[in-house]
Amino acid sequence: MTDINKDALTGKSTTGHEWDGIQELNTPLPKWWLTVFYACIAFAVLWWVLYPAIPFVHGYTKGLLGYNSHATYEQEAAAAADAQRVWLDKIAAASTEQINSDPELLNFAMGGGKALFNENCAACHAPGGAGRPNFPVLADDDWLWGGSLAAIEQTVRHGIRATDPDTRTNIMPNFGADGILKPEEIADVANYVLSLSGQTTDPAIVERGAKIFADNCVACHAEGGKGNPELGAPNLTDQIWLHGGDMPAIVAQITKPRHGVMPAWQGRLSDTQIKMLAVYVHALGGGQ
């Protein structure tokens, strides 16, 4: 008679249960597995004691080691800021011109400027200053308000048509909407504007348009449509069009002009940050 709890084939004990004549072998968990399992439990308990672990409604268990990831982060951020300080102090003391002529300072300012640009400016001007419809491209060499370091710094600091008292502003009259020019006159002057950038049109119409331009537009856009960065008047002779460069777009701009607004960053960004931004934007492609 074999033992009821021993399996004849393997000699191992069974669990003692029987289902339809089938008995199950009692195969315990491997010893190494159990050891690791208990070690994990011990580790977890130790962890609870040493480190922050159990959350309550207000607060949590702090752990004996006093570890705190926020504090660690703040320490590391402070250490990083310390490492940057030597450069930031130099930038604070230097003019944008001086920054631009010192390769090491320029390198640092470009890095900082890029980060600031992506955070604050890229929403409208797109990463790399690629521009968006009705928002100027900053990587080209056409500047509404001047592309020198000083002019760029002024624009970043005080904005355009912003609330800042030193902001620069201009308004192009609603030549069509306010009835200053008749639609035929607007079409004529638009044809003249197209001819300035070499887009051939009827010489007779261009001549009529030139006369209207001389009477109405030349004060701001200057002789021959060269523009005037002092007044923020765009150059009409080049290939770059903020609000579109075809006939309907030009007619629309003369009839009821769009006026972009750029916020002033003084007060929102530090002096050092504004300088880094100016140097970065100046280096994007068309700084003068």
């Binding site: 004849a8 084939l9 393997t10 631009n100 002529s101 010192d102 390769p103 320029l106 390198n107 470009m110 797109a126 990463p127 790399g128 200053g129 690629a130 521009g131 491209v137 990587a139 080209d140 060499d141 056409d142 150059n235 080049d238 290939q239 770059i240 280096a283 994007l284 492609g285 068309g286 700084g287």
Partner: protein, 482 residues
């Protein structure tokens, strides 16, 4: 009847219970070689990081240094940048082929004499012998119940083992830090967490592998014994038991002349007792034999005592052993197709490495085009692309580089804040420059134009170039598919 058959079936286990090995002390030629190799290798390991090599002011003066934070590796006059890590691959290939050659000539000399596992295990066994005594004393000690004496011996052994392991780990981190500075930091107990971590890791592995795992590393963990047999042939010198001479083995009795029919092996078992991996070499070649030759020393000492010819166990090839058995003269054949091929490969790889090292560039240039905007149309209709150009200067002095572009008609190249004719890069560093490249639209036939940006060292004329893409607007309704 059937039940009986079933009862006899026993499931076989794949698990081999560990049998602890108590190697006996032996003196002789191979023991001397092993001690010499051990001394030389440990001296190199512990002292090499302390060698100094002057590289000029502000640069590390350690001859052998892998500087992880600065991303440089120094080997005397050679300085490796991260992108040149293929030199390490070359060294590993060289090591592998050298191992193949040595193995095909002399068997497992690497395993038996120079492998770190062997060297540290040997050292740990010697410590064990000093404290607990030789084989019989250790066997006896392990069988004893726990006593104060046993506890004292065991504790001092493990303490000494841990000290050696700690020194091993401590020496390892010296290769990755300035050794004198780190030594001072360790003495003042202010090493960094990384250093403590690595010292701890190497202390633990040394202690476990050399103290506890020992021959199990060679038998179960190491891949080399599994395939080193592929480098052997019948001419490879191996630790060999000359069975033709030794068999039939039999015990010797005092004062009784050995019969002519008896072999020289008196089956004393000393060769097995001295073996650090516990093998019986008389069973022939086997995976666990690391070829250390201690059994040769053991057998020779016995043969000398019973006044029989030495070298019953000896370094011999299979073909020689067979020749001797047949009474023919033994011939050592070192020049074989196999060894010629390994030697040629060794020379070839060495030559290739020396060539690349000799013609190593001291500069590199890379250019990455702006992703946004891909290109810009300027006021006069020309197209401009922005690039970030990096020039690596691997020289110990500052250098000036001239930047030019090829592949564009009438292109103008401008560098922000610098003169493209003289871009200055500090010694042993990478200079980053913002480069603006513009070209007339009429000359740009494709959406993507292949260009070459070339940097030339103004002083030496050395040059390096980078293939880049100049992007332009699509023309003529897109005849270009890329």
């Amino acid at each position: 009847m059937k039940a009986d058959v079933v009862q006899q079936v026993k499931p076989s286990s794949l698990y081999a219970e560990h049998v602890k090995i108590y190697p006996q002390r032996i003196f002789g030629r191979f023991r001397v070689i092993k001690w010499s190799a051990l001394g030389a290798l440990l001296a190199i390991y512990y002292l090499a990081p302390w060698l100094r090599w002057d590289r000029g002011p502000g640069r590390p003066d350690q001859a052998l240094l892998i500087d992880m934070p600065a991303r440089r590796a120094y080997f005397f006059w050679i300085e490796i940048w991260p992108q040149e890590v293929y030199y390490l691959a070359g060294l590993l290939i060289l090591g592998a082929i050298g191992l193949f050659l040595a193995t095909s000539l002399l068997g497992r000399v690497w395993c038996g004499f120079t492998c770190p596992q062997t060297v540290w295990t040997d050292l740990f066994m010697q410590v064990e012998r000093w404290i607990e005594g030789d084989r019989n004393a250790r066997l006896k000690l392990d069988k004893e119940p726990l006593s104060f004496r046993k506890l004292r011996l065991k504790a001092s052994k493990h303490f000494l083992w841990l000290i050696i392991a700690l020194l091993t780990g401590g020496a390892w981190v010296m290769y990755f830090n300035d050794a004198p500075t780190l030594a001072r930091d360790l003495v003042h107990l202010r090493p960094s967490l990384t250093q403590v971590g690595f010292i701890g890791l190497f202390t633990a592995t040394t202690y476990l592998l050399a103290g506890w795992a020992r021959e199990q590393v060679c038998i179960y963990m190491c891949p080399w014994p599994r395939f080193q047999g592929a480098m052997f042939d019948e001419h490879t010198l191996l630790v060999t038991y000359e069975g033709w001479r030794g068999e039939p083995r039999g015990h010797a009795k005092k004062g009784v002349e050995r019969l002519a029919s008896q072999g020289d092996c008196i089956d004393c078992g000393l060769c097995v007792r001295v073996c650090p991996t516990g093998v019986d070499i008389r069973n022939g070649q086997q995976l666990a034999c690391i070829g250390c030759g201690l059994c040769i020393d053991a057998c020779n000492s016995v043969m000398a005592k019973i006044e029989r010819p030495l070298e019953l166990i000896t370094y011999d090839s299979l073909s020689n052993s067979a020749a001797r058995a047949a009474g023919k003269p033994a011939r050592f054949k070192f020049v074989r197709t196999r060894t010629i091929i390994y030697a040629l490969a060794l020379i070839l790889v060495t030559a290739a490495m020396l060539f690349t090292l000799g013609t190593r560039a001291t500069m590199a240039v890379s250019a990455q085009g702006d992703r946004s905007p891909l290109f810009v149309r300027l006021g006069d209709g020309e197209i401009q692309n922005g690039f970030t150009v990096k020039i690596s200067n691997k020289n110990p002095a500052a250098m000036e580089y001239r930047l030019t572009v090829e592949g564009l008609h009438d292109a103008t190249l401008k560098v922000i804040g610098a003169d493209p004719q003289a871009l200055r890069v500090a010694p042993d560093s990478v200079g980053t420059f913002r480069v603006l490249l513009k070209a007339p639209l009429k000359d740009l036939e494709h959406k993507r134009n292949d260009i070459t940006i070339r940097a030339v060292n103004v002083a030496t004329g050395e040059e390096s170039h980078h293939e880049a893409i100049f992007n332009a607007p699509e023309r003529n309704g897109g005849d270009d598919h890329d």
